[in-house]
Assembly symmetry: C2
Homo-oligomer: 215 residues x 2
DNA sequence: GTCTATAGGCCGATAGAC
DNA sequence: GTCTATCGGCCTATAGAC
């Protein structure tokens, strides 16, 4: 539900193994490898080598390659896209606020790391269903829920006309993603220039405001 | 590497090797396996077994697993989503026409086979860049180009107001996809009920028409 | 062209010393 | 906890008979 509003209330270790130094090395190295190359292309040997530990140490901390992968991607998905500060309760200029939010979202979605994580999550969601669900819930859905609340507030203020705030949030997100998102997912090294991003944001916000203008 | 760029005009041998019976068996079996399970999870043994041939025969027709995979997915991507017949030159009821088109597109995008192909293409686009590009060009982009032409015609007729038909087509597609597409990609076995699909189409077309109404 | 049989290598996971 | 060394298996790809 909430992305990154407050630090976790329970700071203790959660699942398996203490947060030792080698364990952190493993997690960081594995994250880089899995995100960059995907599940199948990364061997436990490669993880061990990159982390500077032996394979036996690897298996002392994670019971299997699957478990390691699930841990890595699960944590990576929990990095929320936009902070709540991006959606102020009171706005004087709706268009400017939407453009700021849209620019933040779209730029986040197109970051190479974000794209790589999404690609891995989509690729392995068939093998790890709970992983796909977790990514969906803590990523796109969490963001959309926040936006829906915000748009509902704007509607109550009369700044926009969106009786169904959930649908409006879905439409806003969809318009912003446009085709850039799928292009990025299918094109390794995709990096649109700033002008195209800004144009996409402007076009999306324009269409959204025409569709959801007050009266 | 033997990616096919242009669709074969008619029957007849295409790339390498004659279209023998065993070859067709291999292609069909490999397509099913790759689409269902992805590149890494499918072994050449499994393909040979499913096709009812030996591995040696496999390698007699395809030089490597990579080449076989590229052939399969390249052909799968070429199955266009919507025929041009779905976009008549003259429309009396714009909303009804958009709903028909949108329903067709969304239902196609959510078909299990379509989702599986998209998932595989996204998953392996890092390893096979030309594959991602081919999928993008012959899938989403081809459809969007057709829609843009159609919307441009509607604009000229005064049925809608879309001075930038390309942008309008992008927005229409985005609104239709909404969150259903990404949900399907991340959720194995995702099957939204008809009511939800119809509601999504109706909401998307409604928003599109408000944003692109003539005056 | 198609088969059987196998080469040769890399992978995930473990045993046992320290 | 961490290491070195290794096992058993499955993988891609090939050799040679027919």
């Amino acid at each position: 539900m909430e992305t990154r509003l407050a630090p976790a209330p329970c700071p203790g270790p959660v699942a398996e193994g203490p947060p030792s130094r080698k364990r952190q090395q493993v997690i960081q190295a594995a994250a880089e490898l899995f995100i960059a190359q995907g599940y199948g292309a990364v061997s436990m040997d490669a993880v061990a080598r990159a982390a500077g530990v032996s394979k036996a140490t690897l298996y002392a901390h994670f019971t299997s390659k699957d478990a390691l992968f699930a841990t890595i991607v699960g944590e990576a998905a929990r990095q929320g896209p936009v902070e709540a500060a991006q959606m102020p309760a009171q706005v004087e200029n709706v268009e400017a606020a939407l453009r700021a939010l849209g620019g933040k979202l779209l730029r986040f979605l197109l970051e190479p790391r974000t794209v790589a994580i999404a690609r891995v999550a989509i690729a392995e969601s068939a093998r790890f269903p709970e992983l796909g669900a977790a990514f969906l819930a803590s990523g796109p859905m969490a963001f959309q829920t926040q936006v829906a609340i915000w748009l509902g507030r704007l509607h109550a203020q009369g700044a926009i006309h969106a009786p169904d705030a959930d649908l409006a949030a879905q439409h806003l997100g969809a318009l912003l993603r446009g085709t850039l998102h799928i292009e990025a997912l299918l094109t390794p090294g995709f990096a649109p220039d700033e002008a195209r991003i800004e144009a996409a944001v402007q076009g999306a916000v324009g269409a959204f405001l025409r569709a959801y203008a007050p009266q």
